[in-house]
Assembly symmetry: C2
Homo-oligomer: 220 residues x 2
């Protein structure tokens, strides 16, 4: 058993929701609303990162967050406390959001009342990457404890992201996480993509991330 044997299993055909996603992007443009789709594995720090971004940007723009969760409303409460509007989208067991679910969320806010809407997607590095939500831009979080090899294992997520946030850099000394190796693996999957090492807990690096987001909103 010294050889690595590989069996390729058949992939299911995924539903195409590109038409609705394109329409949603058009709608958002007309409304002057920027939609950021934030994705990551469970527990990578999406909500804590968002509360930091809200603190930094809330005096410049009107912000709302759509919290996609299978169950519970713990994240929504934290976002409201941080000073942004928030709506909870219960996915009923779904592993991702598609363009239709995103539209329902945008309608309920409604999105035209906001400059920035963030979709906090379901914690999952696989399925959310396969469905275009209609967002203006996608960002993803890779947290230090997950390991620097994640771009090798979840290629599509790193390919569809427009920015990678590396969170929990404060605990780097306690994990076998090589920041340069992580950056190299990310660059291999998505050449030229901006990478933001941050610590959402302390706020380190959040300014650079907020600068990127502000500039993307301006140029949308």
């Amino acid at each position: 058993m010294s050889e690595v044997r590989i069996i390729d299993l058949k992939a299911n055909v995924l539903e195409d929701n590109e038409v609705l996603a394109a329409k949603t992007r058009e709608r958002l443009k007309n409304e002057n609303t920027f939609l950021l789709n934030l994705m990551s594995a469970p527990g990578s720090g999406k909500t804590t990162t968002l509360t930091r971004l809200i603190e930094t940007l809330k005096d410049e723009m009107k912000i709302a967050v759509m919290e996609a969760d299978i169950d519970s409303d713990v994240d929504t409460k934290r976002i409201l406390e941080a000073g942004a509007a928030s709506v909870q989208l219960h996915t009923g067991g779904m592993c991702h959001l598609d363009a239709d679910m995103t539209c329902q969320g945008l309608d309920s806010l409604p999105s035209k009342d906001y400059d920035l809407v963030v979709l906090e997607n379901v914690g999952n590095l696989v399925c959310p990457a396969e469905f275009d939500t209609g967002s203006s831009k996608n960002a993803m979080i890779l947290s230090v404890p997950e390991g620097d090899d994640k771009p090798l294992k979840y290629p599509l997520m790193f390919q569809v992201a427009d920015a990678v946030i590396i969170n929990k850099i404060d605990v780097m000394p306690y994990f076998d996480f090589d920041l340069e190796k992580a950056k190299k693996n990310i660059e291999m999957r998505h050449p030229g993509i901006p990478v933001f090492p941050i610590c959402a807990k302390t706020g380190e690096g959040v300014k650079e991330l907020a600068d990127w987001l502000r500039s993307e909103i301006k140029n949308a």
Copy 2:
């Protein structure tokens, strides 16, 4: 055309899967092979935990691991080094394994040559919980950096698991992770389920986990 017809595709797919899963469990019983389905979020330490279990159990039983990965073969190499047989199942973008894919893996080993086969499922806390693989038992890993609130957010995973492994307990001082709160949240989702706090990196707590697995294999 006055009637609304609803075709529940997901229900049909799940029903077909259940039939094959039940058949697979029967087959494994006849072969005297125990199949453990190991699930977790990305980067929770599935492979490191498995290498520890293999070290502990390899002199008592013949072990093989089926590595489900969207891409790459980094985990398969580590399992081979630990001293177990290993086969890589490339899921072609799929977010979970179902009973059919699992059967393909069992055939390729073949499973009858082993006492214990472990299916290292795709790193995902959502979809793998929905598909019965035909395994004898399910175990899941929750790692400390993910947070003690995960049972609130991913209920089904904790419901279908037969044991919960809490990994990376060595870094507990650096995270807001309350072990008692985590245990209470797990117990709420799945009363009476055994919980094993471990550090796969150092081997702490692995003996108790191996004892549980040995006893499950014996009583299968």
